[in-house]
């Protein structure tokens, strides 16, 4: 009997996950006591040397850590020991701030560029030069001018979210079907009403696609930015745990970063579907 494709896909996914976890577990399992040594010396060397245990944590260690974090995500025991929830909250807040700021700037300017062939040509060279710059390259400039590490991270998010949204908005508006614009023209619809009733709804799927690309980039960049500026955030958490040599925590953070990124992406995907119209 053949089940539905999604069901079979889910079974294969689970099997792959199980195989991966098993391989991981076997690879990091302790190999029994190694050579006999002076107990004092063995204590100094730790479990890695004495029991042949890998420096890499196994899946069970990570699961225990994840569980620990899930149980108490918001504890705060000083600068270098905060719950994963607090760190994530900081990162999400910075991404949200920079991203929303970018929306507010990119969409009006994108509409302007899309509606005006003149502005489109005039602004094009700037966009072409600014777009390929790594957002992190702005960091020193941001730190120098803003003089606040947190705000600098927000600025970097703003810059990296800006371009995909700007490009897609301008493109979406410029390629709105001529006939829809003509409908608005024959009805003597004013510019502002035309933007809101014809141009934006018609370009919405393209604009939302740009916004989805942007949120993905923003979530990639925030980790690197927070590693640079330090203090708070999931990126700082990863760096800090690396300095503590707590690989378990680093792996936990990696997992969490992936999950949050996926949730953000799905959120935008859902929004895109909501504004997409069948023709």
């Amino acid at each position: 009997m053949t089940r539905s494709l999604p069901f079979r896909a889910a079974v294969v996914s689970l099997a792959l996950l199980a195989a991966f976890l098993l391989a991981w577990h076997l690879a990091t399992r302790g190999g029994g006591p190694t050579a006999a040594m002076d107990p004092e010396y063995a204590k100094l060397m730790g479990a890695t040397a004495t029991q042949g245990k890998s420096a890499m944590p196994g899946p069970l260690d990570v699961a225990a850590t994840v569980w620990g974090h899930l149980k108490d995500p918001f504890y705060d025991r000083g600068t270098n020991d905060k719950g994963l929830g607090i760190q994530l909250g900081w990162s999400i807040a910075r991404v949200a701030a920079g991203y929303l700021l970018a929306v507010l700037v990119a969409i009006p300017i994108g509409v302007l560029i899309g509606m005006s062939p003149l502005m489109s040509r005039a602004l094009d060279p700037f966009v072409q030069v600014l777009k390929p710059i790594s957002p992190l390259a702005w960091m020193p400039l941001a730190l120098y001018t803003i003089k606040d590490s947190g705000l600098s991270a927000v600025f970097v998010i703003f810059i990296c979210s800006l371009w995909p949204m700007l490009a897609n908005t301008a493109f979406g508006i410029a390629s709105v079907r001529r006939e829809w614009i003509n409908v608005a023209r024959t009805l003597e619809v004013g510019t502002l009403r035309r933007i809101f009733t014809v141009l934006l709804p018609a370009a919405a799927p393209t604009i939302l696609t740009g916004m989805r690309i942007s949120i993905g980039i923003a979530w990639l960049v925030i980790v690197a930015a927070e590693m640079l500026v330090g203090g708070t955030g999931i990126g700082y958490f990863v760096w800090n745990e690396w300095n503590n040599l707590s690989i378990t925590n680093v792996i936990t953070a990696i997992l969490v970063i992936g999950v949050v990124g996926m949730v953000l992406d799905q959120l935008l995907a859902r929004l895109t579907r909501a504004v997409t119209f069948p023709e």
């Binding site: 829809w180 003509n182 024959t186 009805l187 009733t197 709804p201 018609a202 119209f277 023709e279």
Partner: protein
């Protein structure tokens, strides 16, 4: 002198040609229309019919000349002139009601939402779509979409209705029904209509006057054919009228041969301000014996002898 309701005065349209220079689609085109008349423009593809209609709509500007409507030169689109687009041009993210309401609220900006919707519903019912108000264009058939386009155009109660091959994408049955409805509504409301078509039967059924354009480039308005059929004609018996084949043959003959062969000499001889008006009547007596000109059907009533003679 009586001023015509719509007066196209010497318009031209030129485009820069591919290899430098300019292509003239048409030039020095004159045409006047009276209030309440139904005019069809017929010509082969590329002769500039859509361009003429877009100029009338105000969506396009002529390279030369002007169009006067109701004693005023047109400057851009206006709510007085509604357009029914060939591709229906519905906004796909709006429902049927939303599409018509968009037009209604554009015309009467102070109306409340309730007033707008009530007015829109009236016109949706007029084109026979009551009950489909909340469907989106993607859920409608081609004929239904075009009906929404018609409802949208009529809902703003325009002075002039402009249609660019509105039924060409529809199947024959739907086309017939919509022609009936457009004809009924236009007659009831005394609408002034300009319609582009390349369907000769459609033109004969709907139009008071059929405007014939020669092939482009440099197309000219060669002739205006006055439709001799009675105004109260019905679809099912229009082809039985004694003059039906006279009109039909005249127009088909133009499309098949004269639109192409209309040469420079003919163009030079043409008074462009007053193109010839032809009223196909009873066949000439000499033609009665000519097998090629008499329709090959036995049930066509021959005109009475007194008229023929």
């Amino acid at each position: 002198m009586t001023q015509k309701f719509i007066s196209i005065e010497g318009i031209a349209k030129r485009f820069p040609a591919a290899g430098g220079g300019t292509t003239t689609v048409f030039e020095d085109l004159w045409l006047a229309m009276e209030r309440g008349t139904f005019t069809c423009v017929i010509g082969h593809s590329g002769c500039g019919k859509t361009t003429v209609l877009n100029v009338l709509a105000g969506l396009d500007t002529p390279s030369d000349g002007t169009v006067i409507v109701d004693n005023q030169a047109i400057e851009g689109p206006s709510l007085d002139r509604a357009v029914i687009f060939q591709s229906h041009a519905l906004l796909p993210w709006r429902t049927v009601l939303g599409n018509v309401a968009f037009a209604v609220s554009s015309k009467w900006r102070r109306w409340s939402r309730l007033e707008v919707e009530e007015h829109a519903r009236r016109f949706i019912a007029l084109v026979g779509l009551a009950g489909a108000e909340h469907k989106r264009p993607a859920e409608l058939s081609g004929g239904m979409k075009q009906r929404v386009g018609i409802a949208r155009a009529l809902s703003i109660e325009p002075k002039i209705l402009l249609m660019d091959e509105p039924f060409s994408a529809l199947d024959a049955l739907t086309r017939g029904t919509l022609q009936d409805e457009v004809r009924r509504i236009c007659r009831e409301t005394g609408q002034t209509v300009v319609m582009i078509t390349h369907d000769v039967d459609e033109a004969i059924y709907l139009a008071d006057r059929i405007v014939l354009m020669t092939n482009g480039p440099q197309a000219v308005l060669a002739e205006i054919v006055e439709n001799p059929l009675p105004a109260h004609r019905k679809r099912h018996d229009v082809h039985k009228h004694p003059l039906y084949y006279a009109v039909r043959n005249h127009v088909v003959d133009f499309l098949v041969s004269r639109s192409r062969s209309f040469g420079d000499a003919d163009k030079a001889a043409l008074d462009r301000r007053r193109p010839p008006v032809v009223r196909p009547g009873a066949p000439e007596p000499v033609m009665l014996g000519d097998a090629h000109l008499v329709p090959p059907r036995s049930d066509i009533a021959r005109p009475p002898v007194s008229q023929a003679g």
